[in-house]
């Protein structure tokens, strides 16, 4: 299960001098089990803040985040997290990076490596099992980061602009692979992006946030069948509507 209920989530930061900065303003949101949701919004709208609150990495919020009936108060192994980049431990090779979480659970070594191998296969990097992150390309590193997050078998996967630093071709390829992984593993995925194209290609629903303070501006269901064709007219229409919404600063 991976059902997430967010109610009245508000987060503000007290600056050293100056007024209080409201990053998120009364966000309420439901994400269904096995759903793929993209959170889209201009930079500075609090997308990452929202994701970090869901992950339990930040505290000091008001409102509630409930995963499968349990309030989130700190990092939990039911939640996997993929950062934007540079999150692989450079001193561990690919296998040991993927096995890190299992090692923390004190799983025996052969079991750790068996599970790591399985996820390495899922992301198609079996031949790089013993490589160090510095020897991998940006796309491969993010594949490893996905495998590492999945290795603990979380119910929900949070992804913070994971393909943002990649070139367009690699990015498209990884989007396709991610959908395949999602279909195989059936996790709930919350994916942050500022690319409308990426959001329309990937998600079941797009949650558009307004500029600061971040509020839910509109929820756009994407009913196109997968695999989606980026050049189809329906795709283009959806993309244009959402772009218009963002460029009008969410005035509907």
């Amino acid at each position: 299960m991976g059902r997430l209920v967010i109610r009245d989530l508000t987060q503000s930061f007290q600056k050293d001098c100056g007024p209080e900065l409201v990053a998120l303003d009364h966000i309420s949101l439901d994400v269904d089990d096995k759903e793929f949701v993209c959170i889209l919004g201009p930079s500075g709208c609090g997308k990452t803040t929202l994701l970090r609150l869901i992950a339990g990495l930040d505290t000091g919020r008001s409102g509630s985040v409930v995963l499968d009936g349990e309030e989130i108060r700190g990092p939990s192994q039911k939640i996997g997290f993929v950062f934007q980049e540079y999150s692989l431990f450079p001193w561990r090779n690919v296998t040991d990076n993927i096995a890190f979480g299992l090692e923390m659970q004190k799983k025996p070594r052969d079991e750790r490596y068996r599970i790591a191998e399985q996820y390495l296969k899922l992301v198609g990097l079996t031949q790089f099992a013993n490589s160090y992150p510095s020897e991998l390309s940006g796309g491969m590193r993010q594949r490893v980061a996905v495998a590492r997050a999945l290795a603990l078998d979380p119910v929900i996967l949070l992804m913070d602009e994971p393909f943002g630093a990649l070139d367009a071709q690699t990015r498209n390829m990884l989007q396709k692979e991610l959908l395949e992984i999602w279909e195989k593993t059936r996790k709930t995925i919350i994916f942050i992006t500022h690319s409308v194209d990426e959001a329309v290609y990937l998600s079941d629903r797009i949650i558009v946030l307004s500029p600061r303070p971040g509020r839910v501006c509109k929820i756009v269901p994407i009913d196109l069948p997968r695999p989606r064709n980026r050049t189809s007219t329906e795709f283009a229409t959806l993309r244009r509507d959402i772009l218009d919404l963002i460029s009008d600063n969410c005035v509907v």
Partner: protein
């Protein structure tokens, strides 16, 4: 291919500089100075080296110095790394210890000698303490800055993957991330500690030791033997550094290869 050839050529360049220095030294000693008290020539030094070796003194001096050095550096590692970790990890501990350390740090290790004699007497621990003072600060500072430089994303990744206790985060995330900096600190500390060795043995904590022997032969005006000990101190110091670097690079910092060079 070209790279390895170039490397070989560069090695020869280095060796030729050494040979050139030896030749200049020889000419200066034989032709210009002509006084083996002021400047012993390379053959004088070699003969003195063989003589000392035959006496069986060199090995004993080396052993005694190693005892002093191991006491000093060992204590510096045992104290310095945990203190550096605590200061790097906790802002409170940093605020607590930083003024004290910054006050003690500029005191030269040799300035401790009077109290060292009063506290430890003329024992190996006295020499060890002087070396300890010289070695501990680079270790503390590099460990500290290594920990401060650990990217936040590593710690957060660790937490998301079930590594939540401070002790586990230090052990599995922060320490390996800081290891290059810690290793650099230990290298500096080894160098400084080794330099303190001669002074630490100068006040007579033992009858042997590389530093002690150097002073002993100076008192006897056997300057060729003094040069033997000078060169030995240099070569042994260099060997420590090379061995340390080799092991660190090979077994602990292998992941760094290819990141910069």
């Amino acid at each position: 291919m070209r790279n390895s050839e170039e490397k070989k050529n560069n090695q020869w360049l280095g060796i030729s500089a050494l040979l050139l220095a030896l030749v200049i030294w020889e000419i200066a000693a034989i032709v210009i100075v002509r006084n083996s008290f002021i400047l012993p020539s390379p053959p004088d030094v070699f003969i003195a080296f063989v003589g000392l070796l035959e006496k069986g003194r060199l090995l004993l001096d080396f052993e005694v110095s190693m005892v002093h050095f191991v006491i000093g550096l060992g204590a510096a590692l045992l104290v310095g790394i945990p203190v550096g970790i605590a200061m790097g990890w906790s802002h409170r501990f940093d605020a607590f210890l930083d003024p004290l350390i910054e006050l003690l740090r500029p005191i030269p290790p040799l300035a401790w000698i009077p109290f060292v004699i009063i506290w430890f007497g003329l024992t190996a621990y006295s020499a060890g303490f002087v070396i300890f003072i010289g070695a501990i600060f680079p270790i503390i500072i590099n460990t500290y800055s290594g920990f401060r430089g650990v990217p936040r994303i590593f710690v957060e990744t660790g937490r998301m993957l079930g590594c939540t206790k401070s002790r586990d985060l230090i052990r599995h995330v922060a320490f390996p991330a800081a290891l290059p900096s810690i290793a650099a600190g230990i290298r500096i500390a080894t160098g400084v500690g080794w330099m303190c060795l001669v002074a630490a043995e100068l006040f007579g904590v033992s009858n042997n030791g590389l530093g002690m022997a150097l002073w002993f032969y100076y008192d006897l005006h056997q300057m060729d033997c003094v040069v033997v000990y000078m060169l030995l101190l240099g070569i042994i110091g260099l060997a420590f550094d090379m061995i340390f670097r080799y092991y660190m690079d090979r077994y602990f910092l292998r992941w760094q290869t290819g990141e910069v060079a």
